[in-house]
Every structure is written in structure tokens, then in C-alpha cells.
Chain length 363, copies 4
């Protein structure tokens, strides 16, 4: 008979590495003689109709190379706590009660919640109401300040990098400007790492608002130097400098156009108008979230999953695992969810890009 | 001293396999003691300012794995002959004269033109005016009736297949409907081969107009059977049956909406409205043209390139190489450019898909 | 209640595409309202202890991208019929009786056997004893004369092609000769298709015995032309011409050395001794069998699986599905297993390779 | 006219990321208005016959995705300084003089040497003799103590990880034990990172000598638990514990057999004898060195290349760039080459593996 029983769930947008984390939880708990219940579709599986499956080591053989999550997930539904930047909603008391009843009813001693900012906010509220919870951070955007890296990020970067390789030969053959839009509503991590590794000539990120004239200047300068193709990577949240102004059409503002059609379609039009070059926009979209995790993300996922079991063992509830300077540690969930980690404009990647003449659209 | 001199160029949209074809031309010509001039940017390189590079076997080492074309290409410019379906423009006489002067001036005895329907139409006109020309077919859409396969097609299919793999885990984790738009304005080859291999549940192609209600029925049926994700592959030229009618918004027609925003964005909205499911559209776009060619496309490109040199040797000008039932042959360019090869609804891929319960949106 | 029940099994060495075939069988049978029993570990699952699982469409979601076979397989055991080239063993009567009892006991009306030459020989013997059996050919080596292609082959070719890409940059950086050993004990299909697509300079296959001096000549000739790296692909069954003779060591013959250490290790030593160049041998081995099937192999697997269900429906037992000139058909198993399909030295791939100056070690 | 001229070379075994480093050197130097000479085949290009090419930014477009080094390299020749562990040879004075003459003759103010332990030892000797040299570390094995990571390492890990994915489906289908031999003569970094991410059940590294009985125990235990396949990753330098003893054949020792045929072939035989299971050995060999660098390695290569130009600018000769805790810094070459960085048995990867029940052959 198993001595102890824990639950695990995945919540929020899916990303590569979730299954590696689940496998590590199952293996590490199994080695301690514990039983693991996997709840289906995030916190939703904890409330009526309660849905879960008992996870055995054999069930998780071979899932480490699989994208997504075998437990299902959702970024909508009744446990949504973040409705905009900064705004936090309290979970209704009856939901919290129901979660507690479910866990008690099933004899579950602790819950491991693998999720992003919003899900960890819900986890923190549950913890404050007495649910013995441990967190595992998950954000493909790598924008959690409490940890150097989260799994999923490097898989997305790798995909961006390889996509730029694909597009570069087409751009070169046709002498085109390619505008490649990648994830990153508030931060430019994926654009920066993916653009640098993929050979981008311009990288536009939310942290560094751009000027239209500087982009056009770079394209023209490249042509003058005999480089007929230009690769531009743009984070979905990149935007022009305040006061920057590009007349799109009478009665329309650039901001409105970006909001409606996306930044890459906007730049496709503007750069063509300003330089006369053939420009093509490509939006990587959901392709960045899927696929097999890289070795880095699998290992990070497993280190996080195994460490979460360790926190449960030590009864350090309310904590979240983290990765800092090559070491696995733990931070209070409460502190982890406070702040967005933005790209530091003095980080080695930015400094390297600048030293190599890669433009951020401001110089 | 080289005994003979030939020219080679690539024209029209780029695709994987062009460089393999170029390498084969260079190697096969080199073995015969011939010299090869590669003209830059398609036919444009033949007219003032004339641009070319002399190609040696060493220059083409390692290019077989490279997407695009080392010679550059264009699908615009002065040699455009097809301006719409069926409409053909005659090349102006002075252009033809200039091409002949360039070839004579450089002492080039024959020209190998690697190109699609439009470029081969220009090639045919040049041939009729006395230019000793040999064609190599190139169309990523595989819609040339004179040949079973063209290189680039299977590389695009492979990319579609792997992209569906990436998206399937996300769709499953989130219980979503994914609508993946692929190339194919007039024919559904890429959608059919890519969709079948990538595990699509519905495949929508121009050859089989769809009904909205049948698509919604399939999504609902799958949910009823416990399959919460549905993968839909749609060719960019797919469209509803005549008379089919979906009220989009007062004063807007479905046709107009498809023309403006694309078929996948349209279906994203319609399927959500009809089924209530989360739907996400992904447009693969230019990513399908790039990247490393598959082994199949490299070999096809090399077989075509070497065979083209054979045609030059036999002075069979006005011919184009072709691949039929596992054999390399030749057809008159004139005949090759006549007809679009549409998906035969009795081909084994369609029959297999139907036998497996994959829907084409009409049943 | 299901109206009919069929069995399916995979037998012999695994290869990519088996799961696509299984999925097609399950979907196509399901659409007809049939039930499918999947027997475990090939024919072994049919005899005591009988092992099977009932396969539902949902069980086969997402397996099309998976290498190997979810049913397990074996190329050893009690149903082995081929013990060497040409030698065929009769299955003992009690085994055949047991198979028939199992099928009757479970109410199974027909059995689909997915297997290679050896497994189909066993299938034919079972058929002759009254078992209603239908075959699906499977050989990664593509050496069955009854079908143009078998699934698994192009996935192996793709892997060989990409491995040559990996090794070429190392070879070029270090100015080395690389000898890459690939599958193909009796035929050179993988070496030919993989070598051509991967940019090999020499391709050594069983069908064309080589001369040591010709190999050394090619390496030296390349160096003289400024090509310091040479890529050699060798099928495991390639061998020198009769009478060819290379003194390895006193008291040792070349043949014995090849048999013991493999052809690539042998050539590594010989080429180094004859040319003074750095030579490195790489054996791709089991890596060629695994991994995700290419789109081509997935589609071929599904076409075969669906067609096999069609044969069952038409009660054409004793037949095997086949693919010829783009069409799916059927041949008698009895005829299919008769002959090995060797590389035709006049096929377009060989002709292209020769036209490009790629050597087969004989000229 | 360019104001300043520097040289760059790559030396030692090739690895993915070298070209990214070269590109960064060229771009960063170009932005400062400097000229860059790339010497061919490592230090060999500096001595008679002197061989170099002037590198322009355009020459390095698109090389970041290319394996190997466009400058060529060698791990043999006249600049070899390390002949075994610990033994260091002094470069002869005339060689050093010739290098100095070459640099003076070409007007080169500084030399950037991208190389491993041996090459950096030569670089240090040149520096001590007055050559203005800056180092960039390169070791695919990641065993340099002065830097947390070197480029090439994660590309090799990724390859090992994906190869295990390929082999796992075959192992599972056939119920086999797979022994996969990876690089790592003195350290187990690749085996550890690659094995963990690839789902290995046992990881054997030089830092943790194994016991035969413990390996056999794990295989048997897995079978007892219903896991019929076992994946074993073994570093080429892994070895049994002292005193461990396995009778191979009369008159032969295990040590001799390992030395001759390699550790994986040895374990293939031993594990089969001890457990009766089918075992297959696969040696990844040179495939691990080649191919496209991962995004991580490209970025690390570029950060190192750009930082090396920074060191030249600051005239910090005798220094080598390094990467520690997310920051790019510099260390004295002299100190960097002192010590091998071995796997710390308390690192998070080992702790995670142990927590998950992955065995190192000692428990």
C-alpha cells in the first residue's frame, strides 16, 4: 500500500517540457512510495465533475519527448485570476472549499501546480486558504523574475531560430525583406534569443520602442552594402516610440492598425512604402508552442518536477521551485508572481547584437 | 579549354531542390568538358545589365542541402508572361533580341531554364524565336500535368506534416479546433498529402467545395466520440459550394471576407460560431517554401538537372524533362504548359482518406 | 454490437510507418463497423499465452508520427521460416492449429499480417492451411519485387541523407575521407538513394562489386582537383570484385576481415593505407530504423492499411497489398515472396549518379 | 582604408558554433572599421605556405547555421602541445618565430584563437613569446573549468537526446536493451545531459565507475516491473570499478576488451550474458560533432566572438573569454587550461536523475 498520495496538475497555456515535469513528479514520488493523482484540465479537474487519473511510472514512459501536456490544460475558466496587467480577481470561496473537499475526499496530502503567472496567483490564494500547495513555474515567454529560465522558452527560441533559417534562403533568393512575428506581448526574450541565433538583422522588442525611419535606414544601408535581403524579427508587443507617427490612411492611426492586424502586417506595409522593397510578413503563432521540447527544456522540466516533490517532502508549501545561476532552489510563490522580468538592455545578448551591428530600430 | 558552353537560370518562386538541380547541371556538364554560366535572378540576368557567374563543381559542393537558389530568382519583372489564369502575354521583340545577343556574345550554345508554368511559357516563346532552350519544371504545388512530381512539393508536404505534429499536441492539451492554411491556390495537392500524413481530420481543397454544416457536423461528431481536438487542413484556394451561404455580418458576404482575410481566418470565426469550440487559425505561408529539401526532392532535382544536360547533348531543344511512373523522360514545353493538374478525386490518397473517415467537408 | 471482428499484427524488424498502417486498419475497419484485435509481438501473440488488445480509433490518435509499432514485434521465435537465403522452414502443424484455435475462439474472421519476407512466408503457410489472411509488405530495405516501395524505406533514406549533411561539414573542416555504412545486406537501395541525396562522392553497393584501386583513384583525383573531403556511402553488404585482393595482414584475408569487423572499418584501414588520408568510419546502424516516419511513409502506410481492410472486405485472402506506378493494388503473397528486388544498374538514380561523376568503385 | 587588422583561426576538433563565433568576430571587428584575416587550418595557416582569406561581413552571411568551420581546422600537426593527459610539449622556437614573422609581415595587430585545451596551450606559449593573442574556448565535451559552457556541447547533447528518441521506439517494439555510446573520454557531461533528456534508464560516466551486477540488476528490475526495454547511455570513457571483474574469455581481461572494441560492444556482450536479454550497441561517434548548432550554441558562439574582439580592443592579450552564471567575462588563458572540469556528483542533473530512479550503475 502506498504511504502517501499527492496531486499534480498543469494550468495555463501549454508549452514543451510540461510532460517531462509530470514524468519527474511521478518517478520521484514513486521512488518515495507515494501515489500520484493527475488532475485533468488544470484546476477544473478538482471541481465537479472531478476528473483525474492515477499516474504510474509506466504511463509516463516516452512522454518526455511529447509536446503539450497529457493532463490537459486551460487558460480560461473558473480559476482565472488575472484579467489584465496588474488586476487580480479573488477566487470565490465556494470554489476554494470545493477544491479542499476534493483533496480531502481523495486523501491527497499535497498538490503540485505547474503553471504560469495567472495559475500561480490562483495557487497562492488556495495556499492562503489552507491548501498544501507547491508551485512549478511555466511560461514560454521566460518573463518570470523569480527564475532565470522556465521550460518551453528554449524550445520556442529553437523554433524561431530554425524558422529564420528556412526563411533566409527564400529572402536571399528573392531579395526580400522578411518580417517575422514571434511571441512576446510584454517582453522580448523570444525575439532577442531567437533573432540573434537565427541571424536577424533587426530585432524589435517591447523594451526598446522603434523608430520607422531607423528601420528603413537599416534596410537601405544593407542594400547599399550589397546585402539584398533583410531579416527582421519582431515581438508581437513591439511598438513605435511615443510621438512616432506614421500616416497610414486618412482617419486611421498606426496604433489602431497594429492592434487590429498585428505588428508584422503593419510593418510589411510601412517598410514597403518607405523603401520600395518587396516585404513579406510571417507570423509564427501557435507553431512556437508545440513540438518536441529541446534537451535543455526536458532537463529543466525534470529538475523542476523532481525538486517539487522534494518541497512536498519537506512540507515547504507556498513555495515554488526556481532555477538561478545553474542551481535549483525555491522561492515563495507570493514573491514570484509579483514582477515581470523584462529584457535588460545591458544583458550579454543585447551587447553582442549591438557589437555585431544588429539594429533594435532605434539607432 | 572547354569545348562547349551552356547557361542555366532559375526563374519564378523559389523552392527546395533548385540547388540540387543546379549542382547536377554543373557536374554533368563538367564531366562532358563543358563550361556552365549561371545567370542571376532568372531571365533578368540575360538582359542589360547582364549578370552571371561561371559555375565550377567546387562552387556547388554542399549546396544540395540548401533551400532557395544560389542564382537568385524572381517572379516579377520584364519576362512575366502569365498575368492571370489563361491569359498569356507575348514577350516584346526587343527583349528576345537582347537575350539572343547576350547568349551569342558569351558564346553560349544552349540555355537550361528551371522554372514554373510562367517561366516555361517565356522559355517557349524564346525557343520559338530561335533560342536553343531546354526546360526543367519547378512548381512547389505539383500542379503540372506533364510530370508526376516536381521537386519542392514533397519538402512542402513534409513541412506541413511536421507542423501538424507540432500543433496536434497543443490542440489536444487545450481541446481546440486547429485550422491550418497551406499553399494551393488552384489545387489541393499539398493539403491532401500534408493533411493525410499529418493526421488531419478534415481536409479542404479547391477541387472539392465544402459545406459549412458538414464541417460543423464533423467537429461535433468527434466531440461526441470523445475526440476533443480536431485538426483541419485547408488549401488557400478552398471555398464553399456555390449557393452555400453563411451570413457573416450585415452587408458583408462570405466570399468577400475570404478574399480579404483568407480562408483560415474565415473558418476560425465560422466554426467557433457554429460549434462553440475554441478555434485557432495558423497560416504556414512562406515557411513552406524554405528549408532543406527532403531526400526525395534532392534526388528528383538531380535527376532533372542531369537529364536536362542530356537533352542539350542530344540537341532536343524546346523540350522539358519530366518524371513519370518512376522514369525520367522529356515532353515538349509547349504541351507541358497547357494544363493544370488537379487532384483526381479517385486517387489512392483520397480513397484512403475516405476509407479512414477523414472528411472533405462535403459528407 | 460490432458485426465483424478482424485481427492485426506486426512481425519482423520494426520500421517507421507501421503505426500509420495500424491506424489506417483501425479507422477503416471502424468505419465499416468492425472490431479490431491487435495481437502483441507478432504471431507470438496468437499462441499461448495469447496476448492482444482491442484497438479503438482513439487509441491510435497521434501514433502516426511514432516510430516502431505499438503492438510490438519480433524477428525471432517460433514462427521463423527463413533461416538463410533461399532456405524455407515449414511451420510445425501444432503451431498452425493453435493459431486457428485462437482466431476461432475469439471469433476473428480475418487476420491482417504486416511483415517482411520471412513473416509473409509464415503468413502464406498459414493461408495454405486455411487461415483467412491478408498481407501488408514491410521491408526497410525496399527489396520486395512485388511493390515499387515499402514504408520505412524513405524514412531510412532521409536519415542517411541528413547524417551525410552532418558529417560533410566535419569532413570538410578536417579534410577527411568519411566512410558511412548503411543498411543493405543484399541490396543497395538505401545506399543509392541516401548517398545520392546526401552528396556522396562514392557509393558502394552489393550489386556493383568494387575495386580498391578505383576507390583510391577517386580520392586522389578529388584532392588533385582541390576537393579535400570525400564522402563514401557503403551498404553493409558491399564487397570487392572476385579475385580482388588486398593483403590485410599475414594469415588474414580481406573477406574474413570484412565479415568480422564490417565493411566500413575495413575500408577505413585500406583507404588510409592506399592514400595516406585521414579516414573515419561511421556506422549508422539501428538509428536508421527508428524515428518519425516521413510524410511519404506515413501516407504509404495508411494506403496499405486501408487497402488491406478492403481486401478483407472482398475476401481476397492470400493476397498482399502493393504499390506500383502510383497505384495501390494486390498480388498473391505466394508470388510476392519469391524474388529479391535488386538495384537495376540502368535505373535513373544510377544513371544520374554516373552522369554527375559519382563513382561506384568500379570505374 | 581600414585602420587595424586582426587575424582569426579555429584549431582542434571541429564543433557546431565555430562559424557563429567567426561571424561575430568579423561583424564586431567590421563595425570598428577593422580588417579580419582568417587563417586556414588553424595555426598551420600561419606558417609556410601561409594561407588565409580576408573575411567580409557578406562572406559570413548564413554561416551561423552551418556545422564545422569555414576556415578549416586540424587536431594534428606541428602545433600539437598535448600528447597525453598532463604532458605538455614546448613549441619549437623556429615555429614561434615564423608565426611572428607572418603576423608582422601582414600587419596583423592581434590574433584571435578559437580552440580547445591543446590549442589554447599553444596559444599561451605564443603569447609568452610576445604574440598578441586572445582565446575563445571550444570543447564539445564541456570540460573546461574556466567556463560554465562552451559552444558545441549543447548541440551534441541535443543530438544524443534525439537519437535516444529514435532508438527508444525500436527498443520498445522489440523489448531490447540499447547501449548507446556517446563522447566523453574523461568526463560524463554529454552522457549525463543527453541521457537525462533522452529518457535513459542508466547513465554510465567516467566519474562514477560502475558495477556489472548493478547494471544487470536494473535491467531485471525493470522487466519485473513490466518495462521491457532499457535505455543505457554510456560515455566512451566509462569503466568498471577497480577490482570489478568480469571473466570475458580465458586469457582476456575486461579492460583489454574495452580498450580494443569499445565500452558499448563490451557491455552489449556482458549484459546479454548476465540477463539473457537482446542487447544492441549503437555508437554515435562523429555524428555528434556535426550538424547545425542549436540556438544556444549559436548565441554562445556569437557572444564569445564579439567579446574576443572587445578583449583585443582593450589589449587584454593572454586572456580568454568565458561564460559564468549568465555573464560573459575573461580569464587568463594560463589559468583556464590548468584543470579538467569533471561532473560534480552533487549537481542538480545528477540529483534529479537519482531522485527519479535513474541508475549510475553503482546502486
Amino acid at each position: 500500500m502506498k504511504s502517501y498520495r499527492i496531486g499534480v496538475l498543469t494550468s495555463g497555456g501549454d508549452c514543451p517540457g510540461l510532460n517531462a515535469a509530470i514524468r519527474a513528479v511521478v518517478c520521484a514520488a514513486g521512488l518515495l512510495g507515494w501515489e500520484v493523482y493527475g488532475f485533468i484540465d488544470g484546476f477544473e479537474g478538482l471541481i465537479s465533475p472531478v476528473r483525474y487519473q492515477i499516474l504510474h511510472e509506466e504511463d509516463t514512459q516516452g512522454i518526455i519527448s511529447l509536446g503539450g501536456t497529457i493532463l490537459g490544460t486551460t487558460n480560461r475558466g473558473r480559476f482565472t485570476t488575472k484579467t489584465g496587467i496588474g488586476e487580480v480577481k479573488r477566487l470565490p470561496g465556494h470554489l476554494i472549499d470545493e477544491v479542499k473537499e476534493t483533496l480531502e475526499g481523495l486523501g491527497i496530502g499535497a498538490l503540485i501546480c505547474i503553471g504560469g503567472d495567472g495559475s500561480l496567483t490562483a495557487a497562492q490564494q488556495l495556499y492562503e486558504s489552507g491548501v498544501p500547495i507547491v508551485g512549478v513555474p511555466k511560461t514560454i515567454d521566460n518573463d518570470l523574475s523569480a527564475t532565470d529560465y522556465t521550460f518551453g522558452f528554449y524550445s520556442a527560441v529553437e523554433y524561431v531560430c530554425r524558422s529564420l533559417d528556412r526563411l533566409r534562403t527564400t529572402a536571399a533568393s528573392h531579395r526580400r525583406v522578411m518580417v517575422v512575428e514571434v511571441m512576446g506581448r510584454y517582453t522580448g526574450w523570444i525575439a532577442l534569443y531567437g533573432g540573434l541565433s537565427g541571424g536577424a538583422n533587426l530585432i524589435l522588442i517591447p523594451e526598446i520602442p522603434f523608430e520607422y525611419s531607423k528601420i528603413a535606414y537599416q534596410v537601405r544601408k544593407r542594400i547599399a552594402e550589397g546585402n539584398f535581403q533583410t531579416m527582421i524579427v519582431v515581438a508581437e508587443g513591439a511598438h513605435p516610440k511615443d510621438g512616432q507617427y506614421y500616416v497610414v490612411e486618412e482617419g486611421k492611426s498606426a496604433t489602431a492598425e497594429i492592434r487590429l492586424g498585428g505588428i508584422s502586417r503593419h510593418l510589411e506595409k510601412v517598410i514597403h512604402l518607405m523603401t520600395g522593397q518587396e516585404v513579406r510578413a510571417v507570423i509564427l503563432g501557435h507553431l512556437q508552442r508545440g513540438g518536441e521540447p529541446t534537451a535543455f527544456d526536458r532537463n529543466l522540466g525534470m529538475m523542476f518536477g523532481a525538486a517539487a516533490v522534494g518541497l512536498v517532502r519537506e512540507k515547504r508549501f507556498g513555495y515554488m521551485v526556481s532555477y538561478r545561476e545553474g542551481k535549483i532552489g525555491a522561492v515563495l510563490i507570493q514573491e514570484a508572481i509579483r514582477e515581470l522580468k523584462k529584457v535588460d538592455v545591458n544583458c550579454p545578448e543585447i551587447k553582442t547584437a549591438r557589437a555585431m551591428g544588429i539594429s533594435f530600430g532605434e539607432e
